[in-house]
Symmetry: C2
Subunit: 233 residues, 2 copies
């Protein structure tokens, strides 16, 4: 099987998906916690281009970029396949995974950051409303992909569930920090039910960072950003 390490950070929603995939496939790994404010020589060695987590290290071969890592995991360990077999279904999963990731960390549009949720935390007034609206439009598009199934992957958790799974904790945290509701069970009953089903799987919920830890982290980030912008004025 070879030695497997994951370089990650608790607050990064890109890292949890890697741990979920390895756990679902029964692959043992060592988790190396990275301090993102003071990046380690190990991270800089293994991801010199982007200098970002997560990085998967398998027998000293390093693979950065979470979507690339997920494909590598699925191709290397065949138990519990994450992508469907049919090429068209695989293409659709890859399309929506990229959509979800682009919408999530789109640095080109402040309001769309983390599906609009982080933008909505930071913005006020009309800007905040716009970000909330944008988040809800993206959630509606994503919800459509469940299409009567229990998970995006069908009867069991698949690739897209892992890519979108951060919502079940981070979105709730953003809602609390930003004082708003995004994943409203009335407006998105199917996605809301999916989130319940997803969190009921022990491998998934055990790997989620504690809610209060993330709330404190994002509240502190928000205060810091506010102080920066207050100093500018």
């Amino acid at each position: 099987m070879g030695k497997v390490k994951v370089i990650g950070a608790t607050t990064s929603l890109f890292c949890t998906r890697i741990e979920w995939a390895l756990k679902l496939k029964g692959v043992e790994y060592e988790y190396i916690k990275e301090d993102l404010r003071n990046k380690s020589p190990l991270l800089l060695k293994y991801n010199p281009v982007h200098k970002k987590v997560p990085v998967l290290v398998h027998d000293d071969k390093a693979i950065p970029e979470s979507l690339v890592i997920l494909e590598y995991i699925d191709e290397t360990w065949k138990e519990y396949p994450l992508l469907p077999q049919d090429p068209y279904e695989r293409a659709m999963v890859r399309f929506w995974a990229r959509f979800a990731d682009d919408k999530r960390w789109s640095s080109s549009s402040f309001t769309q950051c983390v599906f609009g949720a982080w933008g909505a935390c930071r913005a006020e007034g009309e800007e905040k409303e716009k970000a909330i609206q944008s988040a809800k439009e993206s959630l509606a598009l994503i919800e459509n992909q469940i299409n009567g199934k229990k998970f995006f992957g069908g009867e069991q958790i698949g690739f897209l569930d892992l890519v979108i799974g951060w919502m079940c904790r981070w979105l709730e945290v953003m809602e609390k920090v930003g004082g708003m509701k995004l994943l409203d069970p009335q407006r998105f009953p199917v996605l809301y039910e999916w989130a319940q089903n997803f969190m009921e799987v022990p491998v998934i919920s055990e790997c989620m960072p504690p809610r209060e830890y993330l709330v404190n982290y994002f509240q502190a980030s928000l205060s810091y950003l506010s102080s920066l912008s207050a100093n500018k004025q």
Copy 2:
């Protein structure tokens, strides 16, 4: 084999890679030229989320996003494999393909657009120098991946060659429009030689849009953008 259509546009460097892949695999297809200033109902039907070219339509199933399309083509038609077999090598190809695409159309940074080349066309003075510098840094990283081989794919053209192949024409066009040199044979001898090898393959060069057509198009775009910014002042 089923009916295959490509919805594309001559000026889009994302589309040519799809035609190359189909031609290398011997897949016949119908090319549907899209007018990007007046998008057709067909495009809006087949790519309602992004409304962008290229779209591959295979037996009425539509697949948007060029990297997703390339994977679909490689999985559907097995002749002339584009991705390597080894999972780690596949991961590295996917990593550099995403790097190349992100660097190319990074809307977050104007100067980095098209590997910095389009940014360098539009900018002046210090900004232009910065864009040129950024382009050269990216080219150096990409050049390292050839690693003594004839093509990125080895002895024959592979996935990454198709993703980066636009350089052999578009970069040259940008250099002419912007009055600068980026792919300098002295500075990048390996990448320069790769470009010669790539363009010598008939399937590749036959599909490249005519140089003068692109020069006229990008010169007109530049004039239009200049007039817009002159009107603002």
